[in-house]
């Protein structure tokens, strides 16, 4: 049943949302079904609940997190569900008439039902985490409701403010709940409620309590988080009536009641909760007096009443809790009706400003009468429900034991709040329904449609009935509610209007008298209408939020300013820290343990000199780009020589070839870049960079040195041993490339081919402006072109030679591919791109694809023999005449490499060589 109850609002929200073509009435009816059916379910469950049974259902959702989908209904939950559904039903009815033709009822009721569902879920959750989940859902759905009139700035702002504050509270609550879970070891409500002593004894208790209270205070608009509530009044009135009487703000005090057995009973709880409650109570009431907006006044009044309830729970005596629960019920009734009445007034007069209203009892007597009844209930006038709970409150305030000062403070606060409450209620009644007015209205107000008035009437009558015969009406309900909250500790109490003449009654009388005096006295003293109250809370919030936004903007823009230099500098700095940290102070020991350095023949030092000199030379001349390129060519050559010298011919070959192609690419690019670097006038920056470069270089050199002099233990011995017998190659480097680590090469050619694609993609459709266009027609270099005629076929032959020999001597697919590509590059340079493209006619793009597929085929072939990808096979083919032809399957793979490298290189070169140039004339467009 509980699942059904909870599913109702969500299911119908979905139905409403999807009923695109339904009439307004249908939509409202659909929405109205929820409270109707829901109340039916409640009625069905009432018997058990009133008997004190706790109804439960439980489904595992995320047992790992302790988050079960468990629902639980006791008296407290039942009563709250009753409020949520009952007042919800009235609000649906009211809202149907309230919404104007421009407002989409579909959207409105969808949000409303979502909210109703969230609220219901929160109330009947049987797992604290689940409760927190629904708690946040109420924040989100109320955000949508408050911002319903999203074209209005105050609505947007109010909605965001509410979301921010209550969202923050929700996160805090989540933290608190998690801490409770940590203490108790379960989130199950029954377990938690039974573990009050354990919780209170835990060292985490203050944190858990603080976080939970933060959630409660924000939700229930307690000082200092109260300010979001008045701004939420930008919502349509049905929303205010619903959220700020029976539901949203009550979620906080609901939780206070719910967790009362688990959290209450310590001094910390007492001081914080009652202190905050008392402050809110008085402050809210005081500010309510000075509101000009009907809903504003009601909002501050709500704050004040929530303060009262909080205060009662803070007092923590059983009777105080009962009083608090009672006031929750009462407040829901009179406040909902008052909001709806205010909405009617707004609806009929077009304003909610009390300075323009007045004397409405003549124009809309019925509404006025109902509103006056509700206001009197709010003021706590006898024979109305508000009086009863207020009396209980006064009584409890006077009976605080053990906390001497607090007793006085709270009693005075209670009295003050009573006085203020009378004053603002009086102002509400007087300024709206009596006196002169209304002024400057565009319409002549009259009674609203009957069905709009009915909800107000129902609630007002309830206020009266409860106020007169409480024991018969609300008594059992309150009892059930209290039992749900307090369990075994529920006190015996009787509800009656007359307790005899006692101190609480005196306080009521006093507050009535002083309240009337205060209102009229204030009217005499100052012009109410000129008083402008500013919500300091809002001010502070707004200012801080703006500050947060601008701080975030400024900070983010300042830190992530898009500067590449900064990014790189950060990278370097972290690198220095991470790599330098372990070495600091340990370097001497590090290099002491190895076999020690070996001497290098003079030859090696000469090559070293070329590396060092041209490397530094590059830095010195880097501003002049052509020069820098030539000089860096020296570095490349010398590094290659170093490779040769140190037993790495394959490396040297590759390095040299890549060097040539790189220089060609850079020269092509240089045509579209400035010839010189602009000099920067930032000596400090240069100094810093020089310093960090030296540190980085020195550090890396030191690391390299330490590594080289420490003993090595590598798997390479095994590679050497197994290369020839098992991989059929003498050039172990090539064997590694195509066999042992063929998968690396596989990835590498993918990178290579893809790089060519990227170059192609970047330049194909682009039009670039050369930095400088040389005058005259293209230069022909016939002699050079002619001389390379013989070079080309020979280079091709060499390429094939290097390719076939690669497995046993320096060479291989990559080197051979480049050796093929480079003479074509020379052709491009000497004959011009157009001429080459016209005759050469290879589709380089497809070449890359074909090469990659070949490599895959070379690797997948081994699957035929049921061995993994890239396993090399070996086959000796005996051919007539020719003799033995050794074939390694790695050859197919290497062919793929060859083709990709050739095609990729040429795709890059030809793309860069055939860039479409943009003329200065086009530039102007």
């Amino acid at each position: 049943m509980l699942e059904l109850l909870l599913a109702l609002p969500f299911a119908l929200a979905l139905v409403v949302a999807l009923s695109a073509n339904a009439s307004r009435r249908t939509v409202a009816c659909l929405a109205g079904l929820v409270p109707l059916l829901g109340l039916g379910v409640l009625a069905f469950l009432a018997g058990d609940v009133f008997d004190g049974t706790i109804l439960k259902t439980q489904y595992a959702w995320i047992p790992e997190a302790g988050l079960d989908f468990s629902l639980r209904m006791d008296g407290l939950a039942w009563t709250f569900a009753l409020m949520v559904l009952g007042i919800g039903g009235l609000v649906v009815l009211y809202g149907h008439y309230y919404l104007s033709a421009k407002d989409s009822p579909r959207r409105f009721f969808t949000y409303l039902l979502l909210f109703m569902g969230a609220m219901l879920g929160m109330v009947i959750a049987g797992n604290l985490l689940l409760l927190a989940v629904f708690w946040e859902l109420t924040s989100i759905s109320s955000f949508l409701l408050i911002g319903f009139w999203s074209h209005r700035q105050d609505a947007r702002q109010g909605a965001r403010m509410a979301l921010t504050i209550t969202g923050m509270g929700g996160l805090a609550l989540l933290g608190g709940v998690l801490l409770i879970g940590r203490i108790v070891g379960s989130y199950d409500l029954d377990v938690v409620l039974a573990s009050g002593d354990l919780i209170r004894a835990s060292h985490l208790y203050p944190w858990a309590l603080g976080l939970v209270l933060l959630g409660i205070f924000t939700k229930s608009a307690q000082f200092p988080f109260h300010f979001w509530l008045p701004h939420a009044m930008a919502a349509p009135t049905p929303v205010s009536a619903y959220l700020h009487s029976a539901t949203m703000v009550k979620a906080g005090v609901f939780l206070l009641a719910r967790l009362h057995p688990a959290l209450a009973g310590t001094d910390l709880f007492f001081y914080v909760v009652s202190g905050v409650g008392a402050t809110t109570l008085v402050m809210g009431a005081w500010f309510a007096i000075f509101q000009h907006d009907l809903k504003g006044l009601l909002a501050y009044s709500t704050i004040s009443h929530l303060g009262l309830i909080t205060l009662l729970f803070g007092l923590s005596t059983e009777m105080a809790v009962v009083a608090g629960l009672f006031h929750i019920l009462n407040h829901a009734m009179f406040k909902a009706s008052l909001f709806m009445a205010a909405g009617i007034i707004d609806h009929e007069t077009g304003t909610r400003d009390m300075r323009r209203l007045g004397n409405l009892r003549r124009l809309m007597p019925m509404t006025s009468a109902l509103a006056i009844v509700a206001s009197l209930a709010m003021a706590g006038i006898p024979l109305l429900n508000g009086f009863l709970s207020k009396e209980m409150f006064f009584a409890e305030a006077l009976e605080i034991g053990g906390h001497g000062t607090m007793r006085w403070v709270i009693s005075i606060a209670a009295l003050l709040a009573g006085v203020f409450g009378i004053a603002y209620s009086l102002r509400f009644v007087h300024d709206t329904f009596f006196g002169r007015g209304p002024r400057a209205l565009d319409v002549v107000p009259h009674e609203p449609p009957r069905w709009m008035r009915i909800p107000v009437g129902v609630l007002a009558i309830l206020c009266l009935v409860i106020g007169i015969i409480p024991a018969l009406t609300v008594g059992p309900l309150l009892h059930t509610m209290a039992r749900g909250t307090l369990g075994a500790a529920t006190p015996e109490f009787s509800l009656s209007v007359w307790h005899g003449i006692n101190l609480p009654l005196m306080m009521s009388v006093a507050s009535l008298v002083f309240g009337v005096l205060l209102y009229f006295g204030l009217r005499k003293l100052l012009d109410f209408h000129a008083v402008v109250t500013r919500s300091t809370g809002r001010q502070v919030f707004q200012v801080n939020l703006e500050r947060l936004f601008s701080l975030a903007r400024a900070f983010t823009a300042r830190v992530a300013n898009g500067s590449l230099q900064r990014s790189l500098f950060g990278l370097l700095l972290v690198a220095l820290v991470l790599a330098g940290w372990p070495l600091l102070g340990n370097f001497a020991e590090l290099i002491a343990n190895g076999p020690g350095p070996r001497p290098l023949p003079v030859m090696g030092w000469m090559i070293w000199a070329v590396i060092v000199a041209s490397s530094i030379g590059t830095v010195v001349v880097h501003g002049k780009r052509l020069t820098a390129l030539i000089v860096i060519g020296g570095v490349g050559l010398a590094v290659s020589l170093m490779f040769v010298y140190l037993s790495a011919p394959d490396l040297a070959l590759t390095q040299l070839l890549v060097e040539m192609v790189t220089i060609a690419l850079m020269m092509m690019a240089l045509n579209y870049l400035p010839k010189q670097s602009k000099s920067t006038r930032r000596p400090l920056r240069k100094f810093r960079d020089v310093a960090i470069s030296i540190v980085a270089g020195g550090g890396l050199g030191a690391l390299a040195y330490a590594m080289m002099v420490s003993p090595a233990d590598t798997i390479s011995n095994e590679l050497l041993v197994r290369s020839l017998p098992e991989a059929y190659g003498r050039n172990v480097v090539n064997v590694i490339l195509v066999d042992f680590r063929g998968f690396d090469t596989f990835g590498e050619i993918t990178v290579f081919g893809t790089a060519a694609l990227v170059v192609h993609a970047l330049l194909r459709w682009a039009r670039l402006k050369p930095d400088e266009v040389m005058p005259g027609p293209p230069v022909h270099l016939p002699i050079a072109a002619d001389l390379t005629q013989l070079l080309f076929p020979l280079a091709l032959t060499v390429s094939i030679y290097l390719f076939l020999r690669g497995h046993n001597a320096p060479g291989g697919g990559f080197i051979a591919g480049l050796v093929f590509a480079v003479p074509v590059l020379v052709k491009y340079v000497l004959q011009g791109a157009r001429a080459v493209e016209a005759t050469f006619g290879f589709d380089y793009l497809r070449g890359i694809g074909v090469g990659l597929l070949l490599a895959v085929i070379g690797g997948v072939g081994s699957w035929w023999f049921d061995v993994p990808f890239l396993t090399s096979g070996h086959l000796d083919v005996e051919l007539p005449l020719i003799g033995l032809l050794p074939l390694a399957s790695a050859l197919v793979f290497d062919t793929g490499v060859y083709v990709v490298v050739f095609a990729g290189t040429l795709l890059m070169l030809s793309t860069m060589g055939t860039v479409k140039q943009r003329q200065a004339a086009e530039e102007a467009h």
Binding site: A664, M667, V829
Partner: protein, 89 residues
């Protein structure tokens, strides 16, 4: 004797390389530097051959061949740039 000759030769060629390096760094014009780089390439071939003789191995043949065959590519490209800025017209 022959080993000594090879070693002496390697040092001579090494000096040649250092001299080219000097020109490479000093310039003054771009063609000077290109020329220096070209010379560096040619000297490298000599160096490789000598080294192969010293080690009594043929393993450096491929490297020398490729430098001889393509070492001038850099020269071609750089010179074309000086002549026309656009190396592929």
């Amino acid at each position: 004797m022959i080993t000594i000759a090879i070693i002496v030769g390697m040092h001579l060629v090494g000096i040649a390389m250092l001299l080219s390096l000097w020109r490479l760094l000093r310039g003054p014009t771009a063609p000077d530097r290109i020329l220096a780089l070209d010379t560096l390439y040619v000297s490298s071939i000599a160096q490789l051959i000598l080294f192969g003789m010293l080690m009594n191995t043929e393993i450096y043949f491929e490297a020398a061949l490729v430098i001889a065959m393509l070492g001038f590519v850099g020269t071609v490209v750089l010179s074309k740039y000086v002549i026309r800025r656009d190396i592929v017209e």
